[in-house]
């Protein structure tokens, strides 16, 4: 009888302890409360462009945010000219990518001025904001292009001479590729209007610094090889050199060729955003034809063009 009482007592005590501890359900919130970074900002402001597009996103709570996340978020993005005190409100647009991933890009058609500084701010409904100061470089002289031509009349290389640029943010060789129709064997002498695609080859890494700028010696063969590697060698194509895109930046520009990928991946590895993450830069760009222009025997800058898309 005593044993039975002890047994019952032990079982009851064990049960009470279990009930007590089984109620120990702590909530699990895997995300650290974020009072450090409010927005992610990426892109550039180009004083020579008609429209400015920048990526501004509140830091998401998921790896792949969907449009519902953006719909439920209230953000005000402004561009403030420090020289003129002008305040520009940028317009939001939701862009959709594969797998229902969405991103917010903000735009303005306001004409930005070279050698001006703009304060880009994004503010959420709680009043938390991220901002960055973007200085746009002054205009630089139109670069001069020298083409090397073979005895058969083909372009072998192009030398692009860029002056008045402190930091070369970009140099792209722009080609248009025509996809031959079945049965066609020869490339047309002129670029057809249809069945074409634009390829931009990043070539800034081939530019060498000079006393007052940069000079780049670009191999057409290498560019064509690169394009064909992207298209596939089995596809019959004709490649037409079209333009050069050159962009200058101020000292905020980072030399990405010497920055490790892991540093870039760090939230503050390359970030120039206050209370946020990302990288914004101001540029001045020029798009020029892929040809040499001569004044008599003297090479001169060609007239600028609109960039083909």
């Amino acid at each position: 009888m005593i044993t039975s009482k002890k047994t019952i007592l032990c079982v009851l005590l064990f049960g009470v302890l279990l009930l007590f501890f089984s109620s120990c359900n702590s909530t699990f919130d895997p995300l650290e409360e974020n009072d450090q970074y409010f927005f992610s900002m990426y892109g550039y402001l180009d004083a020579s462009a008609d429209t400015q597009w920048v990526r501004i996103m509140p830091l998401s709570e998921t790896l792949y945010p969907d449009s519902a996340f953006l719909d439920s978020t209230d953000v005000n993005v402004t561009l403030h000219s420090l020289e003129t005190d002008e305040l520009i409100t940028m317009q939001d647009s939701v862009f959709h990518f594969v797998n229902d991933i969405s991103a917010w890009n903000f735009s303005t058609t306001h004409q930005l001025q070279p050698d001006h500084t703009y304060l880009l701010s994004a503010t959420n409904a709680e009043g938390n904001s991220s901002q960055t100061s973007i200085s746009i470089p002054e205009e630089f002289p139109t670069p001069v292009v020298y083409l090397g031509i073979s005895t058969t009349g083909e372009i072998i290389n192009a030398v692009v001479e860029i002056q008045g640029v402190e930091n070369l943010a970009d140099l792209q060789s722009i080609y248009q590729v025509y996809f031959l129709n079945p049965g066609d064997e020869e490339c047309p002498s002129e670029l057809p209007d249809n069945n074409t695609r634009v390829f931009s080859i990043p070539n800034a890494d081939k530019a060498n610094r000079t006393n007052n700028g940069f000079v780049a010696n670009l191999s057409i063969v290498e560019d064509e090889r690169y394009i064909r590697s992207r298209i596939g060698t089995s596809t019959a194509t004709c490649i037409y050199p079209q333009q050069f895109f050159i962009a200058s930046a101020n000292e905020e520009w980072l030399d990405f060729s010497v920055i490790d990928d892991e540093i870039i991946s760090l939230p503050e590895g390359i970030s120039n955003i206050e209370n946020g993450v990302g990288y914004m830069v101001g540029i001045y760009s020029k798009t020029i034809p892929f040809k040499s222009c001569m004044d008599g025997n003297l090479p001169v800058p060609c007239e600028e063009e609109s960039r083909i898309n």
Binding site: N25, E32, Y42, L59, Y64, A103
Partner: protein, 752 residues
């Protein structure tokens, strides 16, 4: 400094030896092996009591795990020797000993039919109750007590009920002991290394109660005989087969099917024992748990034994296979294999005062992880080993010394999408010697100094690892005992797991980076244990470890398995308290373990990331608090058991938020056309903690006897109140994976 240490250690040994000269003059002794007459198997824990007929001052000792006993320090005279063991007929003999005589008496005890149901064995001789700090002798009977969802108890379930032992969950098969990582544990099966024996379903191992003769578990402070690991030792002895009769067992539960048989090869002389176990959870989980658990494992074991009187030899082979996906929703798959084969021999030369134990064999382990993104990780390690161990008795001093040699062949190949393949092969040849002594300074104080000397030519300098352990009974009785141990421990190879995922099981083995020293731990432990009477006992242990040269993978914000190692240092301290009750039909314990681990590492990236190059963090196996409890009783022919555990959450690195990196490396990006590279912005390492988890497992068993057979039914449930315990959280996909939900089971075991 090392020379000074070696000199001091030698002096210590010499002084210890000199202090026992008095007893060396009385060198009469009896020694031998004890066994079970009915099966021919070794019988451990037999109480051997020697009583001089005209002087009633008994001396005694229990037989050890090999069935070996030795009573020293006997005056010439006539003695009555008694061999007793619960459940067996006591054996008595009278013998005369002359000066310097060493008499060998091997005794085979006959089972007593009247006590067949008794299983509790409590040695009554003083030395039998002595337990080293951090050490525990695990018997087959104690393994049986812990509820396991199968027909048999399992060693891994028992280990998980011990304070200081932490698991990552009920799958994965990793044990973290007193602040060590799972790759810092030495697990020996019949003297041979096995690398990752615990199965992917964490309740199971290749060591069920029916196969295990016993195991010595050292949570720290282990002897210099065990070199090459920092954290713990689990030295498992597998059972020998029945030498007289063929027996078998068959059991099935929703988790596991098992068959086991044993019998004589040459009756009374040699035996075999074999077992095959396979998981059934993959097949039964859809209807039992409501979701498929793609987890499979099996293991096979074969052992043959022979020998009589003064020598015993055995050979065995064990294979394990595990395969599965820890997260059923992901298309990743991990698999691993162990193969261990070898033999051991034990010799007791006639009229000599030493015992020889030899082991030789090969251990192979491989593991492969395949991910849905076509990455594949592979690593394997083969280890050839041989060792010779001698126990020499000189009066009341016991010396254990020996030599060991091993060769390890290590490979890994890590192939990830968009990453270059990382691969490497290494060969390590290691050899060494060790010496330790058990020196009774007074009847109530015993010290065990020892050291090992090992060398890995061309890779590491000579390693000298001194260790000392002492046991003191401060109140002159065996009811209270204080233990202390201090020692230096080194480990020549490193097991690297993926830091991104606390539930990661894949391990790439490799030596320390070129030129780096072996990883090292200086350990100190202090323990108190007391028997309170009426079945109650309690123990309290504290420990501290100073860790140095720990190779840890470089921290990276990029999702990539890295074998780039940097050195870390660390500190671990903690304590365990355990209260146990064992009387009549009741057995129970409750234990609390506190554990604090801190790593410190310096990495260039930290400076950019956090503004300072050095980061201190609690690694992912730092479970700060843990309570384990168990109760079992026999009630009207039923055995009812319940086990409950609760543990605080383990650390993980919290994400702050997510964005996408828009790349500027090649050209100015057009944000209209590209989304960028998704990125998780991580907080400082391991600042978050997973939630508390707790679980109650219950079981009830009833056995029915038939003439020569018996059938047992066990009903029970894992996670009885269906607690949602988090197994791991993936910060990239933000998916949580829980441990097993409420899982009822019924097992049937038929044995003859």
């Amino acid at each position: 400094m090392p020379k000074l240490t070696i000199t001091l250690f030698t002096l210590l040994l010499l002084s210890a030896t000199c202090g026992t000269q008095r007893v060396l003059s009385q060198s009469a002794a009896i020694q031998g092996f004890t066994s079970d007459q009915s099966t021919g198997q070794t019988l451990e824990g037999v109480n051997v009591v020697v009583n001089e007929l005209d002087n009633n001052q008994p001396q005694g000792t229990p037989s050890d795990r090999n069935g070996f006993y030795r009573v020293d320090d006997l005056e010439p005279g006539t003695y009555e020797v008694t061999f007793s063991y619960v459940g067996f007929v006591t054996f008595r003999d009278t013998l005369s000993l002359s000066t310097d005589e060493r008499k060998t008496i091997n005794v085979a005890l006959e089972p007593d039919e009247a006590f067949l149901d008794e299983v509790t064995v409590e040695p009554t001789i003083a030395r039998a109750s002595k337990r080293e700090v951090g050490a525990q002798r695990i018997t087959s009977e104690s393994v049986q007590r812990v509820p396991t969802p199968a027909g048999s108890g399992d060693l891994t379930s028992y280990l998980q009920a011990m304070p200081g032992v932490v698991t990552s969950g009920d799958r994965g098969g990793q044990l973290f002991i007193r602040g060590g990582t799972s790759t810092e544990n030495m697990i020996l099966v019949d003297g041979l290394m096995i690398y990752q024996p615990f199965h992917i379903v964490g309740f199971f191992s290749p060591f069920p109660e029916g196969l295990v003769s016993g195991a010595d578990f050292y949570a720290g402070g282990f002897s210099p005989r065990y070199t090459g690991r920092l954290s713990s030792v689990l030295d498992i002895q597998m059972r020998e087969g029945n030498r007289n009769d063929t027996k078998g067992m068959l059991s099935i539960s929703p988790f596991l099917g098992e068959v086991f048989a044993e019998g004589p090869i040459k009756k009374g002389k040699s035996s075999w024992i074999a077992s095959y176990r396979t998981s059934l959870i993959e097949q039964t989980s859809p209807w039992l748990l409501g979701e498929k658990q793609p987890l499979t494992f099996n293991n096979q074991f074969l052992k043959v034994s022979t020998g009589e009187s003064n020598s015993r030899c055995s050979a065995m082979v064990m294979r394990t296979y595990d395969r599965g996906s820890l997260d059923a929703e992901e298309q990743s798959s991990i698999k691993w294999n162990n193969l261990v084969a070898g033999g051991r021999c034990l010799f007791l030369p006639q009229q000599q005062n030493y015992l020889i134990n030899m082991n030789m064999g090969i251990s192979y382990f491989s593991n492969t992880l395949q991910n849905e993104n076509e990455s594949e990780f592979f690593s394997d390690i083969a280890r050839l080993q041989t060792d010779l161990n001698i126990s020499r008795f000189s009066g009341s001093v016991e010396y254990n010394y020996g030599l060991f040699m091993n060769m390890k062949l290590i490979n890994y190949s890590l192939s990830e999408l968009l990453q270059s393949v990382q691969d490497e092969s290494n060969t390590l040849l290691g050899m060494g010697i060790y010496l330790e002594a058990s020196v009774p300074i007074t009847p109530r104080l015993e010290i065990n100094p020892g050291a090992s000397l090992s060398v890995y030519p061309g890779i590491y300098p000579v390693s000298f690892e001194p260790r000392i352990q002492a046991t003191w009974e401060p109140f002159g009785t065996e009811r209270e005992q204080i233990d202390v141990s201090v020692g230096l421990y080194r480990q020549p190879i490193v097991g690297i797991s993926d830091m991104r995922d606390a539930g990661s099981v894949f391990t790439a083995w490799m030596p320390s980076p070129d030129g780096a020293p072996q990883k090292e731990a200086l350990q100190a432990q202090l323990g108190w244990q007391q028997s309170l009477g009426k079945g109650f006992s309690w123990s309290l242990e504290g420990y501290y470890k100073r860790l140095r040269n720990l190779p840890v993978t470089t921290w990276s914000p990029v999702a990539q398995f890295s074998t780039n190692l940097v050195s870390a240092k660390g500190d671990v301290y903690g304590g365990d308290v355990r209260i146990e009750y064992n009387r009549n039909q009741w057995y129970g314990f409750i234990g609390y373990g506190y554990n604090w681990i801190m790593y410190e590492t310096e990495q260039d990236l930290f400076n950019t990331w956090f503004g300072e190059p050095v980061q201190r963090y609690h690694p992912s196996h730092d479970r700060r608090h843990q309570i384990n409890s168990m109760i079992s009783t026999e009630f009207r022919n039923f055995t009812v058991s319940a086990r409950w555990q609760i543990g605080s959450g383990m650390p993980f690195t919290k994400p702050i938020g997510f964005d996408s990196i828009v790349q500027f490396e090649e050209e100015l990006p057009s944000v209209k056309n590209i989304y960028g590279t998704p990125r998780v912005i991580l907080d400082k390492p391991f600042q978050g903690r997973m939630p508390i988890n707790h679980r109650l497992d219950i079981s009830m068993e009833r056995t029915f006897q038939f003439s020569e057979s018996e059938i047992s039914f066990q009903a029970g449930a894992i996670n009885s109140y269906n607690q949602s315990n988090l197994f791991y959280y993936d910060v990239y996909t933000q998916r949580s994976l829980n441990q097993l939900p409420f899982a009822p089971y019924l097992s049937i075991k038929l044995q003859r």
